[in-house]
């Protein structure tokens, strides 16, 4: 299991050092600094073995987190734990930075003591942790016996993510369907790979221990129901033409009853209080690609390059895409760039070796164009310019996968509010993931 956990700043100074096992000596701390942080090369592997000691490391802004072990541990678990730890720290004190870590020194040690015992990860749900690891110096006698046992039963219990006795005057929930569209397109416009990775994030402000059931236009469910009541599927959904989508795979927050999903494909759970990620999913079929990028690069002699890029928006004209940014890479030996664009602003950024073209808003079914002339310095470098792909960023108010939330039902048998009393909000946001077109 994990033998020790170290946090370093970018200079390699140790900020936090917690050793769980005897086989990890103090020299391990230095070994990592010398071999990884101060290494000249970029990181060639997230797992480094130095003198039979394995270091798992992740970097968050300028901070290195390293878990150390000498045993054959579950590597996936160690990384998951490191991420989780980042989440917990972020939930407690915001951004992970050197200053924040130094200011929350005591808190971090207290957390590390609680969520990792002898190198075994323990309950690390922020909701539960916040009930008994606070920075207000609780005096143990101030807690009643019931409170104490409530804490322990929550930390160890079946529903470790939610405490009992939560009360809200207004029962409300927010559902965000956040998708990121990933695309790799050849210069000829052929889709090399495209997928949507989506998340359903839920913010719940519900009283008691509500039992929720979530439904979406999953093809398998719709088809199953379609056999029973044929007309229901017909009238459902906004008539977008696509009634159901094929989900390649999905994963759920630990509150979802997986065995029930496996057998009935129904998603039922008792949600944690506040914000959490209910599910993640991935689709590859029938993706609506919001934008199409058509590149044209022409080399005029050895010192000049002509670039023309057309973007076309491909969704309902009534919808507006936002924060559009097209990044056109330029060769390293660029000396000057002239840009003409019909819409938005375009700028050559020498430090990033790219022309960045920004458009604030763009409606569906429109197109826009940019053309640029790039002057090159003559070089005798034999190596050809690698022509990195043109990438794009945007945000659209619909789900490119076609996913629709059909219902989210809430049952709380003990308290007197019903599904109708809960105020529900649903929002769809589609963002660009890695949206690239080769040129």
């Amino acid at each position: 299991m994990i033998g020790g956990l170290f946090i370093y700043n970018h200079k390699g100074e140790v900020l936090i050092s917690r050793v769980y096992r005897d086989d990890i000596g103090r020299n391990a701390v230095d070994a990592f600094r010398v071999n990884v942080i101060h290494a000249r090369q970029q990181v060639r592997s997230p797992v480094t073995n130095i003198a039979r000691t394995s270091f798992f490391h992740v970097k968050r802004s300028n901070i290195w987190l390293a878990a150390v072990t000498k045993q054959n541990v579950n590597a996936a678990m160690v990384f998951e734990f490191l991420y989780k730890m980042c989440d917990v720290m972020t939930a407690y004190f915001g951004k992970i930075s050197e200053e924040n870590i130094k200011n929350n020194f005591v808190l971090i040690y207290e957390l590390l003591d609680e969520i990792l015992d002898f190198g075994y990860p323990q309950n690390s749900e922020t909701g539960a942790l916040k009930t008994f690891i606070t920075q207000q110096g609780i005096k143990s006698q101030h807690q009643t016996k019931e409170e104490q046992s409530q804490i322990t039963s929550q930390v160890t219990g079946q529903i470790g993510w939610r405490r009992e006795g939560i009360k809200y005057r207004r029962n409300e929930l927010f559902l965000d369907v956040l998708e990121s569209v990933n695309l790799l397109m050849s210069p000829q416009g052929q889709v090399l790979s495209a997928h949507v990775s989506g998340r359903v994030v839920m913010k719940s402000y519900l009283s008691g221990m509500p039992e929720c059931k979530f439904g979406m236009n999953d093809k398998i469910v719709i088809e199953k129901q379609g056999k029973g009541t044929a007309d229901e599927t017909g009238k459902s959904e906004l008539g977008s033409g696509k009634q159901s989508i094929a989900i390649d795979d999905c994963t759920f927050h630990q509150c979802v009853r997986l065995s029930k999903f496996d057998s009935e494909r129904s998603i039922s759970f008792i949600p944690p209080d506040g914000e959490f990620e209910l599910m993640r999913y991935r689709t590859t079929k029938d993706i609506i690609l919001p934008f199409r990028v058509i590149p044209l690069v022409r080399e005029v002699g050895r010192t000049k390059l002509e670039v023309k890029v057309v973007i076309k928006s491909n969704f309902k004209p009534s919808l507006l895409a936002q924060k559009i940014e097209v990044r056109i890479p330029t060769p390293l030996n660029t000396s000057g760039v002239q840009v003409i664009c019909m819409k938005g602003k375009a700028k050559y950024k020498a430090s990033e070796n790219a022309i960045v073209w920004k458009i604030k808003r763009m409606a569906g079914m429109k197109e826009s164009q940019i053309s640029a002339e790039i002057e090159l310095l003559p070089t005798n470098d034999k190596k050809k310019w690698a022509r990195p792909p043109i990438s794009m960023n945007f945000e659209v108010p619909f789900a490119p996968s076609g996913l629709k939330v059909r219902y989210l039902k809430v049952f709380e048998p003990k308290l007197n509010y019903s599904d109708h009393d809960v105020i529900k909000w649903v929002r769809y946001i589609g963002r660009s993931g890695i949206y690239e077109t080769r040129c």
Partner: protein
Amino acid sequence: MQTDNLELKKLVYLYLMNYAKSQPDMAIMAVNTFVKDCEDPNPLIRALAVRTMGCIRVDKITEYLCEPLRKCLKDEDPYVRKTAAVCVAKLHDINAQLVEDQGFLDTLKDLISDSNPMVVANAVAALSEIAESHPSSNLLDLNPQSINKLLTALNECTEWGQIFILDCLANYMPKDDREAQSICERVTPRLSHANSAVVLSAVKVLMKFMEMLSKDLDYYGTLLKKLAPPLVTLLSAEPELQYVALRNINLIVQKRPEILKHEMKVFFVKYNDPIYVKLEKLDIMIRLASQANIAQVLAELKEYATEVDVDFVRKAVRAIGRCAIKVEQSAERCVSTLLDLIQTKVNYVVQEAIVVIKDIFRKYPNKYESVIATLCENLDSLDEPEARAAMIWIVGEYAERIDNADELLESFLEGFHDESTQVQLQLLTAIVKLFLKKPTETQELVQQVLSLATQDSDNPDLRDRGYIYWRLLSTDPVAAKEVVLAEKPLISEETDLIEPTLLDELICHIGTLASVYHKPPGAFVEGGRGVVHKSLPPRTGSSESAESPDTAPAGVPAADQPSVIPTQGDLLGDLLNLDLGPPVSGPPVATSSVQMGAVDLLGGGLDSLMGGGSGGFAPAPGTAVPSNTGAPLGSGLGDLFDLTGGVGTLSGSYVAPKTVWLPAMKAKGLEISGTFSRQVGSISMDLVLTNKALQVMSDFAIQFNRNSFGLAPAAPLQVHAPLAPNQSVEISLPLNTVGSVMKMDPLNNLQVAVKNNIDVFYFSTLYPLHILFVEDGKMERQMFLATWKDIPNENETQFQIKDCSLNADSVSSKLQGSNIFTIAKRNVEGQDMLYQSLKLTNGIWVLAELRIQPSNPSFTDLELSLKCRAPEVSQYVYQAYETILKN
């Protein structure tokens, strides 16, 4: 410490943990508080106390820990119990004996049935850890009931707990396929968990238990289908986890390629992927490449070859070559892509391309030689050994088509001593090839390189290879041509697959560090911990031959894995023989004297033949290659590039213990006992002459009567000193098979006359036929099939060998030691069938089909069918089989 501020208490405890070791006496003073805190009404404090106490590694304190720990293990609060469970593991780490004596292990086992899932999970984790340090103990006594409990807890505990439980489940061995299936069914829902580690651990359990399911089962197919999506989803995790997932997918793809065969696209490299993810994706792309997707893959690879990172580009170029070798239809396109890349003149791309083109030439000889001209243009830019060696190989191999091959090679020869060994060896071989192809113009060159290799080099490999060529060329240029320019076996498709037993072990370690490093845990874990070898369960209810872990001990490569490295399969077998074969009981004196003789013979021949050119160079016997010059050269040198391996064909043929051939009574006091042996192609008769008379014996001589295979002494019987009374001498008499032939009855009867100063004595003996089995008795597969059909059925004879305690692999390796070669192995209805061939010194081929029937657990019955054009030898071949196998 007495404070009731929880936060302050935690800090004090933390201080204690860190400094207890350096100030043990101070730590003792804290014991009272710990004991008191373990009784605190607040469960958080009780747990904190027991947690901290376990972390203080001071012997005196551990004694005080026992009582509080015992109480906490039975605490009413689950939070305290789950902490105490881990504390047992801590205590065990400090003092294992104490834990056993105090009976904590039993309490821990009881916790597996606890009502709280988190307690169960922590107890499982603690027990698994303790069990690892006691591999023999039956600590984690997993049975269907406890498995059921674990599976129930699995649905309820935290993500981490699920990982502990799944990792523990993976160590369980279900008793039959039905149990395996029911566990699989309950584990599959975990594949949708958001935590990648849970998913990977579930995949591990499924991959392992799948071994037990019959492939015909519907469920098997569904399971395969269910595995693909979660594996693909892992690739959308953070890059570090992607890396772990990719390393594991690499294993899974090798074990069960069918799972991900349609998912090629997800492994396409993204521009922003970290380099470690890119390299791993590339590896998997190659493994998944097939005729169906090759066009796409090639287009991608070409794209990658223009990227920035040198390692990545190299790997991409290499990948193109591997595609060509793997998918024949794409070879042409691959070659033209490689040529395009060579035109870029980027140094490392060119070098890498040349290395892979060499492999393509070996896979498709005489097909793409038109590109040689382009390659030669880039000769000067090559500065890496591997690329230089590859280029030299190409020049040597196609010397007849390259007009200035001699000039090219000569230019390399100038800096011979500065080259790396790889290049030197290749250069030596290439020039010899050139000489054999164009003997007239290149005589000087070949002598130059031979003298460089043999006289000026300190490298034994190089020297040995030099000597072998030198002798070959001098003794028999025709044979040299046959050997050096022999047709090379085609290279296999996949050369970098993980060796199957290791792969099976790694599959059992999916998700862990071992699967990331692709090494067994023992390779990077210190001490005994975690070094327990894990193996996949044997398949039940299926006719397929599973590589049973019992027959192939981990670490030793299985002899018969033609799918992996066919070109080296037999070599591997030979090496195995050296280690595992029956000990050769022949007298040690014998072998060395035989070899010395051989060397002398050759040395003389060499001198006379090469005398003019080499300036009277005579090899010192000690430095000469002793054994490889004999008959086995044919097989040893079949693949010139494995010459070092060729030495491994030293076969340890079975030698029977000596028996008395001529009792003293019948020979006026001379007793002769002896046996026959075959060492590296030469037969010898190992004799012990004992003088049991009262007078000195001298003037020994020996003669054989004409016999069935023309056995005759190759040298006179030399007994250097007279044999004093009650003295004995061991002699090894080299034999050849060029004597006159007469059919004897029995066939293997040998009549011998021995003379000494007293009289002439006669005796007869039977020699085992296997001394006549020659080293190059391995028939080509195709040939074998044709010959088998060709020989009429009446020539087939069948024999039984009862109660043999060997399995197929050991049978085949044992027989190979005596030059009976296994050509193919098949499994029909649970019985292993071996197809073997052997050749006698007089050129008679004998083909065999050996059926291995397990008669009871430890013994097998062998059924031997022999086919031979001269059926009268069959019986004696059978006897040879029996003697080899039973000894």
